[in-house]
Amino acid sequence: MAGAPPSPTSAAGGVPLVSLQSISKTFSNGTVALHDFSLDIGERQFVSLLGPSGCGKSTVLRIIAGLGDPTAGTVTWPAAADGAGTRHQREIGFVFQEPTLMPWATAYNNVWLPLRLRGVSKTDARDQVMEALQMVGLEKFAGAYPRELSGGMKMRVSIARALITRPKLLLMDEPFAALDEITRFKLNDDLLHLWETFGWTVVFVTHSVFESVYLSNRIVVMAARPGRVFADLAVDAPYPRDEDFRTSGAYNEYCRLTSDALHRAILSTMAVS
């Protein structure tokens, strides 16, 4: 398999790829989505943001992506040459909870979009588009319209679109939440495989304890109202992970620990409200 197996770098060691410092976000309706939220994300980490709904997980992703500025606090890109990360922003891939495809465009044209917006013509983009589709196993469906694809296939197109710019950072907002379990497991495995091959940094929002343990090497448990970091857990199980990991004792132990932290996070939320 290509590429060295990524090692989980702790937030403290090495220069983080992206660093959120004392981020607060208050929406115009007065809801405090995040309060004094700080998080360093190291290169090649697979970080899951886990927490009850309304804890600001998605808000964190949007702020990292530069969609909507924080009310207070700063986002820096210490690993970037210029530190500000303006260049780096272009290297972000974003996968939404819904596939978010343009229904009037074929899979090919949907994946082409990020390059098209940079002025790459359809024929010049051909190799990259086909490669991205191949990565998600959909090269045969380049000409298909979204409505002709199953839920899992649409999500694969969405992932291919996020990958085509060869991002350093992949932000995923509960991407598989709406899929059935069999499809979700399959996509989990494929995502892990791609991550091991290409070694991007992934920030993965989920509300599934099992999914977060299976995929990530670091789980950030968040509490709600206001959104904050409640626990920061390392999952040191080696990659590649497969069905054997899913049934192992270590997996169960990680799930128990994570689940426990999540429960305490939910209780703390209730105590506050």
């Binding site: 398999m1 922003q89 974003f94 009037w104 196993g137 002709e148 296939m153 399959k186 495989h193």
Partner: protein, 288 residues
């Protein structure tokens, strides 16, 4: 591709084997039925009409028989055909202006909430004021009657295009907008690649309404203007036939108008179907 990858892809195909099935086509029998039923019904109605006029000996200046109307259509074709062409010219010019104007103004309107607040009420006022009541004013202000007719038809056809396209431009998926922002799309790119395609089904719904309305408004304006002579449209020929009690010709003009209206509706529906059939729900058969 490594062996593992190949295996994965094979597994992909196995698991997500919901390969796109082409939408089921209507069976031959069903299609024949869909065309056959309206045609049989039409023949029955015309036959009943003919029978009634013949048996009850209705005078042709009260209710002409279908055969007589057809005769009028043939014998007066020179006059009626020319009138139809004039009405059609007004209709289509007005429709084209309404499409261009409606789309352009809707693009301006969605640029800012302030512009929309400032301009939209006037579009509504123009729409809700009956055109027949405004026509006399427009006749005073314009140099030629032709211009007045065009403006009247335009005013009526314009609003559905504007309202629908505006709605379409505003109903763009927020996550897709986020995606465009993430990739730093320019305002122009967002408009051309995202907002306009998204507004297309709405625009086409507006087009279908506007097509029919443009014809109606052209005829109404002709009535109001009362153009006579060589430049007279179908509406004038209709009125003239009524004055002269030439009821078969009146019916012939009416048939031409209805037929034109149906043709416009069919054409706009076809355009809409052709543009949307690949992706939009409205053009797809339900698969259950």
């Amino acid at each position: 591709m490594t062996a593992i990858e190949a295996e994965r892809h094979a597994a992909n195909d196995a698991i997500e084997d919901e390969v796109p099935v082409p939408p089921p086509r209507a069976s031959l029998g069903e299609r024949a039925l869909r065309i056959g039923v309206p045609v049989v019904m039409l023949v029955l109605v015309v036959a009943a009409w003919q029978a009634y006029v013949t048996i009850a000996e209705v005078p042709h200046y009260i209710l002409p028989s279908p055969v007589r109307i057809a005769e009028a259509l043939v014998s007066d074709w020179d006059m009626l055909g020319r009138a139809l062409l004039i009405t059609l010219r007004t209709t289509f010019l007005a429709l084209i202006l309404a499409l261009v104007g409606g789309v352009l103004l809707s693009i301006v309107l969605v640029q800012s909430r302030w512009i929309e607040l400032a301009l939209f009420p006037y579009a509504v006022i123009l729409q809700v004021t009956p055109i027949i009541a405004v026509a006399p004013l427009i006749l005073i202000y314009t140099e030629t009657t032709q211009q007045a007719l065009l403006i009247c038809a335009f005013l009526v056809a314009f609003f559905p295009v504007l309202a629908n396209t505006t709605q379409g431009l505003k109903s763009t998926d927020h996550n897709l907008l986020n995606l465009f922002e993430l990739y730093r799309a320019s305002g122009w790119q967002t408009l051309v690649y995202l907002k306009l395609p998204n507004a297309l089904p709405f625009f086409l719904a507006g087009l279908r309404i506007a097509g029919g309305l443009a014809l109606i408004a052209a005829v109404v304006a002709e009535f109001a203007a009362g153009t006579a002579g060589g430049n007279a449209g179908l509406a004038f020929r209709l009125l003239e036939s009524q004055f002269r009690l030439n009821i078969p010709r009146l019916f012939a003009a009416l048939v031409l108008l209805s037929f034109t209206g149906v043709l416009i509706y069919a054409t706009t529906s076809l355009i809409s179907y052709l543009l949307l059939r690949k992706w939009h729900e409205s053009a797809l058969r339900r698969e259950n």
